[in-house]
Symmetry: C2
Subunit: 335 residues, 2 copies
């Protein structure tokens, strides 16, 4: 920048003011400076600026790429909204483990992102303290209500309990008595909620809860498949399955294919999480669709609002997923 200043015959501060339009400059001075900038192909150093101003114009996104079936969509949606607001997006994968989460947040904090959007795993006191101490605006996404302390942060998520119950009831209503559940990774609050929803769905359908019917899909398609293998070997195997999320659905389907079981003829299926193409391929999945883009958009809006007005009380937004009634449940439809 000094070179530019020199070349334009002005001081560094003038150059700075020209670049940032931060005070009146004589038109001809401005022209000279601009010319010098162009001539030298000068671009200002964002790092130095950040050090001076204390702001990076960067938002950190901490979430698990593997555990979140919508990783790509969420990243894309958030990136889009943030770019529009003049921010860049820095990624940090939590892997949905305690250490991973800690590493991710530490990294973002060290890199001084202006704010953080995160899908919390445990969000232990240690991390919370840091976030609060540095007062880094933070919004929680996806998992919003695992622990009471999380309430201190803004959050957007989806209703999980009743919507999962609905997936179960739908099958029960159509005569299924042995309904299995392939659960996503333990330790994640949405998993807990969906499992609870499964039980509630059973109860309200006057069906007993049989722990054997719950398969642990852990964090991937393969474990989901293995869980299905086990369910099918039961002496009284399920006639219908509920998938805990996107990946569970794929894992289940792969396993069923291996067993040469057709959906819904041989076994029915309803799933948490929809696919954009679900309408186009058979079996057309009956699924609970999360409003992913809306979640991302709300997260960003809340973040920007909080940065503008830090003293706001924490806000929790819970979105309703929508039930997509298609064919994999195996029941006749009226439409």
């Amino acid at each position: 920048m000094l070179d530019v200043a020199r070349r334009a015959g002005v001081s560094a501060s003038t150059v700075s003011h020209v670049i940032n339009k931060t005070r009146r400059i004589a038109p001809e001075t401005e022209a000279t400076v601009l010319a010098a900038i162009a001539a030298m192909g000068y671009a200002s150093d964002g790092i130095a600026r950040s050090l001076r101003t204390g702001t990076t114009k960067t938002i950190g996104l901490a979430m698990s790429a593997i555990s979140n079936p919508y990783f790509g969509d969420v990243v894309h949606a958030i990136e889009q909204e943030l770019t529009a607001a003049g921010y860049s997006l820095l990624l940090a994968d939590t892997h949905d483990t305690a250490e991973g989460e800690l590493r991710a947040v530490r990294d973002l904090l060290m890199r001084k992102t202006d704010a953080i959007i995160m899908a919390p795993y445990e969000l232990p006191d240690g991390i919370m303290q840091q976030l609060i101490a540095r007062n880094t605006p933070t919004v929680l996404i996806d998992r919003i209500s695992g622990y009471p302390e999380w309430d201190r942060f803004d959050a957007v998520g989806v209703e999980n309990i009743n919507s999962t119950a609905e997936l179960v009831r739908h099958l029960a209503t159509h005569g299924h008595r042995r309904i299995g559940f392939v659960s996503s990774g333990r330790g994640i609050t949405t998993t807990t909620e969906r499992l609870e929803g499964y039980k509630i769905g059973l109860t309200s359908s006057e069906l007993p809860f049989d722990p054997q019917l719950v398969g642990d899909g852990a964090q991937g398609e393969e474990p989901a498949g293995i869980a299905v293998d086990r369910l099918l070997e039961l002496s009284d195997p399920p006639t219908a399955l509920v998938a805990g999320n996107n990946m569970m659905t794929i894992g289940i389907l792969r396993a069923l294919k291996r067993h040469e079981l057709r959906v819904p003829e041989d076994i029915a299926l309803t799933a948490y999480d929809d696919f954009s193409w679900a309408d186009l391929f058979s079996p057309r999945l009956t699924a609970m669709a999360q409003p992913v883009h809306e979640m991302a958009s709300i997260a960003v809006t809340m973040l920007l609002e909080r940065m503008a007005t830090p003293q706001l009380a924490a806000r929790h937004v819970q979105l309703q997923p929508t039930f997509m009634h298609r064919d994999s449940c195996g029941c006749e439809r009226t439409s």
Copy 2:
């Protein structure tokens, strides 16, 4: 940091050296410093460090989220590899437009990412000069050979021409004489290559090239659908379609559904780009699968190598996609 130094009764430079393990420290001094750090919950300021060291331990990824059907996968794969190497990932969307690309690169340059991975759009001289002048290691991904000047950079991509021709020939071999092509967005070099591949496939099957049979899917599912509408209204409509990428495939399928045409019974389809679940749903797509993860992994490897050894000659890696023969092409299979 000064506070930590004070509390530990040492100088700032000692604290720095303790943190970075950059010189021998008396064990007890180290212990005191570490204690002070822990007590104060101190974490170093990455911005200040970057300013001083000239390195950000951040890699920029510039690509279009909408145009690249694999955006999520690529981001995830790259993020994973980079994290393992101690880098963070900063995103910048090019939108596959000239201005967008310029903005994205400028932004990454300003933010001083240590290197850049990008899916180039035009990569005009202006940008190339900047990258070279700043000597920011850069690797091109996905589109690797549009313009001769790109050869100055490292690049990984996929063979497009012959593989698209194969998609066409496969249909021709099985008796189709009117084969339509729904092309992805113009102006992207892979699109050009695939279109060329389409023509070559036709020629080698002794079929004439009829411009009417080429639909412009532009950058999305909707235009792809509209293109299909037009193709179907032709006096001599296609009996088979080739999709230019993931999004085109979905757009095509949506349109065909609207027209109540079944795949492959009423119209055959082969597609560029596979889906991980393609095996599990019908119609099971016959598709050309790109080795996405491998591309990402090679990109990162090349980048790290170049950062270590800048004088290396530019390397171009062209990967072969693999043909997944399934049902949507409508021909009998031997397996």
